[in-house]
Symmetry: C3
Subunit: 461 residues, 3 copies
C-alpha cells in the first residue's frame, strides 16, 4: 500500500513551525547593519562630517541583487518547467523553498561568518549572499525534480543551507579562497550534494512515470524564459559581491564573453551529436549556461576576454557531451537519476571553474594587477602574497567542497528516505496533480464552446 | 436585444481625443525639471561649481523605476492572464490603460502637488509616481476583469487617477502621512474603489459565463510570470521614492523579509484549507504577494527584520483565508463580483499595512532613529515631532482613503453603467473574442498537419 | 529534388570556425579598458590620488546595459514567437545569432572606431554598443523569419555586423551625427538591410507554407512577453550611451512619453481599421513599440515631453497603417515578404526618427540648452556650433544609412541565395521541426493519461 501523499497537515505544520523558529531567531539575533540602520548610517562617519548618499552600499549592490533575485525565482523556476505536467510544481516549489532558504541562509551565513558582537548584521550584501545560498539548494532541486514532495524539499533545504554555510566559511574565511561567482561554493556544492541525494533516493521503477518525464512544445518555451534570464543576468551574478570598481566591472565583462562563446559551442555540439543534425532543446536550455558557471571563480581575475571565451567554449562543449553520453551512463551504471542533468550544467562546469580559478590565481602577479592585486586577492594586502600557495588553497577548496557536498548529500539523502514525507509513488512522479489543484478541462474543449463566429458577428454588428 | 460590443468608432475616438487633450495639456503645463533640463542641470548649482554626474537623481531612482515599470506592465498584466480565454485582454487592456494612466497621472499629480510657478516639473521621480498611480487603476481593473469593455476601463481610469491624486494630496501634503510604498494610497484606495465599481456593475446572470471564469493549465503558468515579477521587484516598489541612503536600503530589506515569510504562510494555509491538502494556484499567485502590500507604509521605518516577517506572515494568512472563506460571501451576500480577488490581495493587506504603519509611527523615537528620524518623518525636521499624533494622522489617512475610494467607486460605477460603452453581455464575459481578432484554429489540429515524420526524414537526409 | 536541410556538419563547422577565429582575434586585439583593468583603474588618476568607486563607468552604464540585454535576448527573441510552430527557432536562433553578433560586433566596432595604440578596449560601453549592433541583425532576422536556416542567419550576421560598423563609423565619427538610440544606425539600417535580403530571397511559392505563417492563442501570449519587455526597457535603450547627467535622464523621460502616446495611437488605429472594430494582436505586439524607434535620435535633445508624445503618436499611427495597407502591397507588388513587418516597426519609424532628429538638431540653440548644449552636441564644444549644418549632417546621415543598408542587403542577399546553407523548402517554412527535435505528443493526449481522479483520490487519502 502506497504512502499517502496528502499534504494537508504535514506541509502547513512544517511551514508554520519553520517560520515561527525563523521569526524567533531573527528577533533574537538579526539587526540592521550600518547602511540600513537609521541611527548608525551617519553615526559611523567614514571620512567626512556626514556620509554622502551615494556611499550607501545600496547604490553599488542593489541592481545586481535584483538581477540575482530574478535568476533565483524566474531563472531557476522556469528553467524547470520543461516537463509537460510539472510546471506548477517547478515554479511553485522553487518559490517555496527559495523563500524559506533565503531566510534560513541569512541566519546560517550570519552565524558562521557574519557575527558582530553577537548579532547578525543585514543589508543588501547579506541579501545577495542569501540568494546565492538559495541558488545552491535550487541546483540540488533540479536533480530530484518530480520525485519529491514539498516537505522533502524543505527538509533538504534545512540541511543543505546549513552545510553550505559551513563549507563557505571554510573556503572563504579559513582557506581565504576566491569564489565570488560560486563555481565551488554554489555550483559544485549544489550539484554534488543533489546528485548524492538523488543517488540515495534511487527509484528502480521510475520508468513507470517515464511517459511524463519529457517536455511538450509549450513547456519547452516556458523553460526558455528561465534559460534566457539566467543567461542574461549571469554577469550580474558573478560580479554581485566582488569588490567595487574594476573587479566588479571586469567580472561582468568576462562572464559576458564566456557565455557568448559557450552558446556557440552549445549549438555546434548539439547539432553534431544528433544523427539528423537537429538541435536539442535540452542542450540549448542548459549547456548554454555552463559558461557562466565556469568563470564563477576566475571571473574577477585578469582572465582576459579571450581567456573567458576559451573557458566558456570548453564549458559548453563538455556540458552538451555530458547530456548526450554521460547522463545515460550515470543513470544505468551509477543509479543516479538526474532529472535536469545538473551534473552537466553545474557539476562538471563547476569543477572546471574551480580549476580555472586555481590556475589563474597561481599565475597572478603584481606586474599584471598593479595595485588592483589586493582588490582581487585579500591576502595580497597583508604582504604575504604568494600566488602558488594561493593556487594551492584554491585547489584544496575544491576538494573540501566535493567532500562536504558528497557527505552532506549522503546523510541528507538517508534522512529524506524516511517514509514520512508523502513522496510521490513511482507511478506518479513528474505529476502536478498530486500536490496541486490542477484545472480539469483541457483548453481544446473550451475553444469550441466559447463562442461561434455567428454569435460573435451578431455582437459586433 | 444586446448592446453592440463593436469598438470600431468608440475606442478610436476616445483614445484619440484623450491623447490630443494630453498633448495639449502637456504642451501648456509640463516642463523638464532641474535634473532633466539641459540648461538648468548645472545652472542651479548645489554645492560646487559644477554638479557631479552621480548627483543626478537618475542614478538613485532609475533602476527602481524600471523595476516598478516591470511590475506595472508585466506583473499586473500577466498576473491577470490566469483566465483561460482572456489573456489578450488581460495583457492588452492592462497595457492600454496603463499607457493612458501614466500620462494622465503625471498631469493630475503635478497639478495637485507638484506645481512650480504654474508648471509641472517632470523627471524620474514623477515617472515613478505616475506608475504608482497607474498601479492603483490596475488593481481596480482586477475586480472588473472580464466584465468591461476597453472604453469602460479608460473612463474608469480618468476618474480613478484624478481621485487618486486628490487623495494622495490630502494624505501626503495635508496630513503629512508616510506611505512610501502605498499601502493606503495605492492598495487600499485601488482595492476599495474597484470593489465599489464592481458592486455597482453587479451582474445577476454572470453565471452564464462561469465556464470561462477559470484557468487552464498554461494560463496558470503565464499568470505565475506576473506573480513572480511582482514578488521579486516589490522591494524596489516600496523603496522607490523613499529618501536616499538608509531609508531606501532599509525599505527594500524589510520588504524582502516580509515577502519571504508571507510565502511560507501562503503555502501553509493553501494546503490547510484544502480537503486533500492540495495547493491552489489562486492562492500562490496572489496571497504570496500580500506581504509586500502590508509593509507599504511601515517598510521605511525601523520595523526590524523580524517585525517585517511577522507582518508578512499575517498578511499571507489573511489573504488565503480571504480567498477561501470571504470572497464567496462577498459575492453571495454583498453582490461583489471580484474576479481577481483584489480584496484579499490589496484590500485587507492594504488596511493591515496602514494599521502597522500607524502603530510603527506612534512607536518611533529619536532614541531608535537618531538623526535618521527626519529622513523618515518629514515633520521631525521642523522640531514639532510628536509620534503619537503622527500615528493618529496615519490612522486618519486610512479613514480618508477608505472614504474617498468608496465614494469615488460609487460615482464612477454609476457612470460606467451607462449603456454606451459596449460592455460584454452576461453570456460573453471573460472572452477575448469580443474585442480581439483571435486566431481561429487550435494548435492540436496544426500539429498533425505540419509535417509527418517521413517527410521530415527525407528533408534531413 | 530539394536541398537537404540537415545541419549536422554545416552548423557545427561554421560555429566552431567562427568561434575559433573570434578567440584568436580577441587574443590578438582586445584588452581591458581603464575601468575594467586591475592595474590601470587607479594608474590613470583623474583628479585625486585614488579614484572613488562611483567614478567607474560600471555604475552609470551597467543597469542600462542589462535592460538593453533583456531587450535583445527576451524582447526580440519572444516577440518573434508569435508563429504557431516556430517558437524554438525564434528564441533559439535569436539566441545563437545574438551570441555570435555581440562578439563580432565588439571586434568590428573596435576596429572601425575604438582602437587605442592598436588595441580594442572593452568595458560596459563596448558591451552596450555590441548589443546595439546585434539588435540591428535581429531586426533583419524579423524580415526573413521562418525562411532561413541557422547557417544562413550566421552568414547574414557576419556581413551585417561588418557593414553596421562601417555605417556607424561614417555617421558618428565622420559626419558627427547624433544617434544615441539608433533611429538611423540600428533601426533604419537593420530594417532596410533585412528588407533587401528578403527581397533577393523572394519565394514565389511561399503560400505552400501559409497555413503555418500565423499565430495560435498561446503563441501570441508568448510574443507579448517580448513586446512588453521591449516597451518597458526602451527608455534604457535610447539613453544607454548618452552623456551622463541630464542627457541620459532626459532621453529616458522622452522615450517614456513617446511610447505611452504611441500605445494609445496603436489601439485607436488597430480598432479603426478592422471592420468589426476588433483589435489585432499583430498591431499591439509591434506598432506600440514604434514610439521608441522614432525618438531614437532626438530623445537626448530638448524635444520636450509633448514633442515626444506627438512623435510617438505619429509613429504608432503610421505603423498600424503600414501593417494594414502597406505590407500586403510590398509583398504583392515589390515581392518583399516581410514576416514580422519590420518595415512598419523599424523601417518607417526609423526614418521618421531620423527626420525628427534632423529637425530638432537644426532648431537647437544655446538659449535653450545653456551649457548643456555640448553635452548633447559634441561639436558645440569646439565652438564651431552651427545648428543648420548640424541638421543637414543628420539628413545626410539618413541618406548614407539607407544607401549602405540597401546595397549591403542586396549583396548579402545574393550570397545567402547560394544553395549550400540548407534553407527550408517552400513547403516547410515557419516550421521548427526542420532544425529542432520537437516533442512528439501533443499535450491533450497526455492530460487524459496522467492520472484519473480516482487514482488521485486514493493517493491523497
Amino acid at each position: 500500500m502506497a504512502e499517502s501523499t496528502n499534504m494537508r497537515l504535514r506541509l502547513p505544520l512544517l511551514c508554520i513551525i519553520l517560520e515561527v523558529i525563523l521569526i524567533i531567531l531573527f528577533g533574537a539575533l538579526v539587526e540592521y547593519n550600518d547602511d540600513t540602520h537609521a541611527k548608525l548610517w551617519n553615526a559611523n562617519k567614514s571620512h567626512s562630517a556626514t556620509r554622502d548618499d551615494y556611499e550607501n552600499e545600496f547604490y553599488y549592490r542593489y541592481p545586481s541583487f535584483q538581477d540575482v533575485h530574478v535568476m533565483i525565482f524566474v531563472g531557476f523556476g522556469f528553467l524547470m518547467t520543461f516537463l509537460q505536467r510539472y510546471g506548477f510544481s517547478s515554479v511553485g516549489f522553487n518559490f517555496l523553498i527559495a523563500a524559506f532558504s533565503l531566510q534560513w541562509a541569512t541566519l546560517m551565513q550570519g552565524f558562521f561568518h557574519g557575527m558582530h558582537h553577537g548579532k547578525i548584521h543585514v543589508g543588501v550584501t547579506s541579501m545577495i549572499n542569501a540568494d546565492f545560498c538559495t541558488g545552491s539548494v535550487l541546483i540540488s532541486f533540479g536533480a530530484v525534480l518530480g520525485k519529491t514532495s514539498p516537505v522533502q524539499l524543505l527538509v533538504m533545504a534545512i540541511f543543505e543551507v546549513t552545510l553550505f554555510a559551513v563549507n563557505e566559511f571554510i573556503l572563504l574565511s579559513m582557506l581565504g579562497a576566491n569564489d565570488a561567482g560560486g563555481s565551488m561554493t554554489i555550483h559544485t556544492f549544489g550539484a554534488y550534494f543533489g546528485l548524492m541525494v538523488t543517488r540515495v533516493l534511487y527509484r528502480p521503477n521510475l520508468d513507470k512515470s517515464k511517459h511524463r518525464n519529457s517536455s511538450v512544445y509549450h513547456s519547452d518555451l516556458f523553460a526558455m524564459i528561465g534559460t534566457i534570464y539566467l543567461w542574461m543576468f549571469w554577469p550580474s551574478f558573478n560580479s554581485a559581491i566582488t569588490n567595487y570598481g574594476d573587479p566588479q566591472h571586469r567580472t561582468a565583462l568576462n562572464t559576458y564573453y564566456s557565455l557568448a562563446a559557450c552558446t556557440l559551442a552549445t549549438f555546434a555540439f548539439s547539432a553534431l551529436v544528433n544523427p539528423e543534425g537537429k538541435l536539442d532543446m535540452v542542450h540549448i536550455q542548459n549547456a548554454a549556461l555552463a559558461g557562466g558557471v565556469a568563470v564563477g571563480t576566475a571571473g574577477e581575475m585578469m582572465l582576459t576576454p579571450f581567456g573567458s571565451m576559451i573557458v566558456g567554449f570548453l564549458a559548453g562543449t563538455i556540458s552538451v557531451l555530458g547530456y548526450k553520453y554521460l547522463t545515460p551512463v550515470l543513470e544505468s551504471k551509477l543509479k543516479i537519476q538526474d532529472t535536469c542533468g545538473i551534473h552537466n550544467l553545474h557539476g562538471m562546469p563547476g569543477v572546471l571553474g574551480a580549476v580555472v580559478g586555481a590556475v589563474t590565481s597561481a599565475l597572478a602577479s603584481p606586474g599584471v594587477y598593479g595595485d588592483g592585486l589586493q582588490r582581487v586577492f585579500a591576502d595580497a594586502e597583508t604582504g604575504k602574497w604568494n600566488p602558488q600557495s594561493r593556487g594551492g588553497f584554491q585547489a584544496i577548496s575544491l576538494a573540501v567542497t566535493l567532500g562536504m557536498a558528497l557527505f552532506g548529500g549522503l546523510v541528507t539523502g538517508f534522512i529524506l528516505k524516511l517514509p514520512i514525507y508523502g513522496a510521490p509513488p513511482d507511478t506518479h512522479c513528474f505529476e502536478d496533480g498530486l500536490y496541486w489543484e490542477v484545472p480539469g478541462e483541457e483548453e481544446g474543449h473550451e475553444l469550441n464552446e466559447v463562442a461561434t463566429p455567428n454569435e460573435m458577428e451578431k455582437l459586433n454588428s
